[in-house]
Symmetry: C5
Subunit: 354 residues, 5 copies
């Protein structure tokens, strides 16, 4: 199955805006949790039905509705009716192969982003889509499956820590995106660590396994880059976007995010280049080892092949072969053999061949 | 025959706008089908003659005239008279090597795009030109040969599914382009799949056949990219174009298309890089195998060449060679040979040579 | 002699605008031909002297003066006086190493372009400069030597085919540039064809000759690119240029030219990449063949070197060597030799070494 | 530990603007020094407590407060209260992995830059963050640890040398950044020197150690580039920034800095390319040496293997082998052996194999 | 010593605008020559002291003061006083590692450019800085040492050839820059020539010396590019600069310079790519030769190793070895040996191995 693109065969030829879930079902039943808060109000609950979640969603509070599990199309339809989501927005939420972007209209602004998991054991990356719909007084986050990555943020809301309880939904969106980008920095740090470890191995004692690991990491890094690189552009456009959904106060924070996103991209490029360096180094090492092997062969062959010839000469059965009868011939033969062999041995040694 | 450019020798020196079909005739006789629809009206027919197709093409309906087969220049001339096509538009329709673009004038907007077929068996790509002429109340699509790719769209029109029956010809154009880009995504998914399969082979047990397949896919991917990359730029320009042919309502859909086209391009680049990685991996593997072969050679030579010399020594016919007469010489000879050979064997084994 | 830059030593230190012909004299005596036409008038003649060519050059007609041969500086001086050419324009016309560009002033617009010849036999490219001076009612074309490439255009003027007789000198300029770009497309098609032929050879049975041909084509392609790549930029600037010399009607045609020039550049890049692929493929093939050779060596050495040792053992003259006296020793020796050799043979065979 | 990104695990999930020191503690207790100056006033002191440093910080003087050691968060909190620093500014100061940038608000402009140390012995780079907060009449510089790099600047203030005593805090900021960029130029000069030294070794007599050094320098250069490349962009933006913190007089100096920063970047690229060249040269050398080794092997094998066969022939025990009985056979055998061996020797010599 | 950056250690920490000569002293005592001219006036003299040169520098004439030798800081101070040079201008003139640029203020415009010498013998480039200060009625040129490159220009002033005597100092500046760029074109032509000569050698019979020459030229080309590439950008900015120092008349000439500078850059890139091609070709050749060597080895080994075994067989001392007694055994042995050896010989020949 193609890694860099998700299966779209269910989709082709459908009307634009038709709701087809592109991805793998990762949770049995969608789970919905709701937080309603204002400066002085706080309420948190798990609901069974999406309609229950709308109860306290009132203009004087911020409602954060979080949904785990995307494959239940009815749920999305209910959400869309309640919050007036454009058909294309609904379609994009279900297409988990969506490129990171945001889309604003009169009523909502929707962010499509990725959450990334790096498994150090298998050195492989997992990517989940996170969609964030932000309206005048609510935020809806939709994730493919249960993930605890936003828990610290909920904790901050519960504890009134920082400014979050005093500010509106656009600051909450920002805080969520901030967590996601911090997540990218953590992932790239882990991948980078693995790349540097392999780099050291390649410098000292490379094996075939290492080259496979390098290629694996190269592909995972490309996969990571695909999910993360557009984020910077998305934030830049948020900063200059002329939309009521993003307030001036938040823009200063977005600029900071922009720097982080830039750092993610630059670090990704640095590690991408480092991998290429490792590969070149590995190749140079292979050639070097080829030469080492050939030197061993050459030393053995160069020393013993002439000597074998010499032995062969005195193994001939020529009637008239005067040396054979001389008493010290055998001794001289050994002296010559050892001198010749030893001489070549020293010659190659001096040449630095071993 | 050059793959990346079609034969133009018929053309050079002709007046601009002169009608010469550049391409291969792929269908015997052009086939013409017509759909006329409005919210409450629907009519579908096959016509023999292009002039019949104009009958119900009235301002209150959308007329979709589809032509398979481009080589009949009279047909195009009739079309041009009816819908006032600029000579350069006519020329571009016939030049099936046209770069994807759109061209708008007072009366019509014309899109030139490609439909792409990927044959998994031969791992080769086929490219057909699709021209779409959109006027105030009609769409004319011109294809090189019979292809059923727009059938789901016709089905949606027949069934009034989605919004298509309520909207004008610019939405129909959009829907057609949407199908084509979905088609690109499907093709790149198939190619990507083949690239990844070969990549696994290269990692485990590469053969000469694989390198040929990799190169074949690399060339096909370039061929695909040539046909598809300009589409994104074309859609971007459609979004900012100041033309009455594209309504504001459609622009939101075009932005979505823009994302898809971007995804096509990014995925193409990713697979292009992956192929390059495969090639480098293959080369590293070849060098590695060269070393393996040389190790085999060296082990055999290093063990047996000195022993052969030793045997040669005792095969000499020196009169005075004391060891020969000693009873246990032969035994000792074997002991020495096996020790020496076995010692080297263990040495190379420990060095990890096999 | 440097291929990518023409000898300028005659020039350094001269005053700007001083007339020095940079290039090789390719024709003995300049040849001048004149066509005067309007919708209802047509006249064609060869003239001996440049001054004769001005006779019918009147505002109500288009005068096309064509000069073959650039080295006659007097001729250029006469032209310059008649049509008020700026000294820098005169200098640029004579510098046949001029980068493609256009230059507009009050009275004239001058285009500097290249005509390209590809010799399939020698796989080499020839480049000639074509300068086009366009005034209010005249066109002067200057070429380095006789070439029949504009003949179809003259034929169209003679036959009133197309719109050319009804339109002004800017359309004539366009028609000339159109022929040149068609010429580029033809050349890149031929080069591309040669590149693909060599590519097939490299895949099947590459020789040293092929690598030389590939490098030759690579250099020629660079040479071609140098002459052709700036043309697209030049046409883009013509489209947006605010000059009375280019009428609105012609701009539509220029946009079409722009597409063609873009196609030339894209195809050039594609073939440039294809050549690089061929080189990499060739290198992979060399390494592969190195491995094949080494396998042959290793098979022979691994099979026969141990056997030679064995034969050597029984060639020793040890007094006490019991096997020698055993009747079936020789038979057993052969059995062992063939088993051992055959065993290794089968082993290497199974490993896929031959 | 990942080299190209600092450990952020302490940080993820925290509220934006929360103060966490990212980096290694490099000094035990922060050291604070203060310089207050105007045209006619000068005062310099070490203070124990940050609050003491505010004493003479009055609008008619420039106050330069320098802090070594960043990990004391209370100190930063005091500074922030006094000078009204935005929470994000505080956070960025503590994140020593900050990308070079500047950030301006109503009250302050803050620059984040790097100081770079190159250890010629270990060929490794050390990077420290320098933050510069500039207000209406004060400059605060914050460094990770004690460094004497600004000493010449203090000396100039003490001695009234140059214009510094007459100008405001923006000139002081400029002077500090100027010293940092001069520092980059010095570092790149040292790295460049090391790269060129290794380059000469690679040309003459490369060893495995050299390839490791090259790779080390390549990584360090990337590390340097990451810290330095954004500086140019930062200065360009300072020049066009519309902020009261940068006066017109200073802009001329900034343009000069811009040139220096550009030179840093261009020189970095040049050395980066040079390293790549060295690697390619090294690889070509390895292959060359492989060929040299193989030539030695081939010469020995080609000369002595046929001769050994010849000796073997006359070592056979065929009853009827007429040459054996001929008196001069042994002599002729040697003549043939020496001729054959010598002939091959001369042949290979002429081929230039040794 | 680092090639791509000049020693700056004298400089770091100095006040901006402080006068430190960065470079090597190339002339003992500065030499000063003056030309004063107007349409009807001409005067040329050598002066001992810079102050003498100001005598006839009056608004109705153009004064061209040329100084060879930069290390005399007093001279520069005098110049600066007379013509009101900004401290940064003075600093930049002395920094001979200055990037090409121009700097305009109220009174002067200063150009910093390079003069380049190519020594065909050593294939090395020398770079000297040329600073041109242009005021309302004077030009001051400062060079590192005596060079006759502007002599043809002086000759044109003396002889009133061209328009130079009628035009102002901006035209003189242009004429000087024109000479420098012509100088670049000459140098790149010479380097290109050397590159192409080596390219031919690499195709036919490459040696180790060639690879060193290629790398040398690659480095020199980078060195050349560093000095020359920014010139194009500088001229582009001069064309659009809004400064009274550049008149409209001169802009047309600058556009021509722009084309030349573009040609310098494009040709540099072309030769840079050509060198890379040569290196790849060289590497392919090395691998090819490796294969050739291995073929020689394999042919010898494959033919004679089996034969040696065969001889060994009949050299064994088995009591019962029936062939030995057969009269034609020896003859048959030779027949077999020659058939086997010859057969392999023909086999390898047919395979095209030699």
């Amino acid at each position: 199955m193609a890694k860099f693109i998700k299966n779209r065969s269910k989709k082709t030829g459908n009307a634009p805006g038709s709701l087809v879930f592109i991805g793998n079902k990762k949770i049995e039943k969608p789970q919905i949790s709701v937080i309603n808060y204002s400066k002085d109000f706080f309420e948190e609950k798990q609901v069974e039905n999406i309609n229950e979640s709308f109860e306290n969603a009132q203009p004087d509070k911020v409602s954060w509705i979080n949904v785990y599990g995307l494959h239940d199309i009815d749920l999305l339809t209910d959400l869309s009716k309640q919050f007036n989501l454009h058909p294309l927005v609904q379609e994009d939420i279900l297409n988990t192969d969506q490129r990171p972007k945001f889309e604003a209209d009169e009523e909502n602004i929707t962010y499509y982003l990725k959450m990334i998991f790096y498994d150090v054991e298998t050195k492989s990356i997992g990517i989940e889509q996170v969609s964030i719909i932000q309206g005048t007084h609510y935020i809806i986050t939709l994730q493919e499956r249960l993930a605890k990555v936003f828990e610290p943020l909920r904790e901050r809301i519960r504890n009134k820590s920082g400014r979050i309880r005093e500010l509106g939904p656009d600051y909450l969106s920002y805080a969520i995106i901030d967590i996601l980008i911090d997540n990218y920095l953590e992932v790239i740090e882990k991948i980078g660590n693995d790349i540097e470890i392999i780099g050291n191995k390649v410098l000292t004692n490379p094996t075939n396994k290492d080259i496979e690991d390098i290629y694996k990491l190269k592909i995972e890094l490309n996969y990571f880059r695909k999910a993360v690189r557009p984020v910077r552009e998305m934030i830049s456009q948020m900063i200059i976007a002329d939309t009521k959904h993003i307030t001036n106060k938040t823009i200063k924070y977005l600029k900071d995010l922009n720097d982080l996103a830039l750092q993610v991209n630059e670090t990704t490029e640095l590690y991408s280049n480092l991998i290429t360096d490792h590969l070149n180094l590995y190749n140079a090492n292979i050639s070097n080892r080829g030469n080492e092997i050939m030197k061993v062969l050459t030393v053995f062959a160069a020393i013993f092949i002439p000597l074998t010839f010499l032995a062969g000469v005195y193994g001939t059965n020529f009637k008239y072969l005067p040396e054979l009868d001389f008493k010290y011939s055998y001794l001289i033969f050994w002296v010559i053999s050892i001198s010749l062999g030893g001489g070549l041995f020293i010659y190659f040694k001096r040449k630095g061949w071993f």
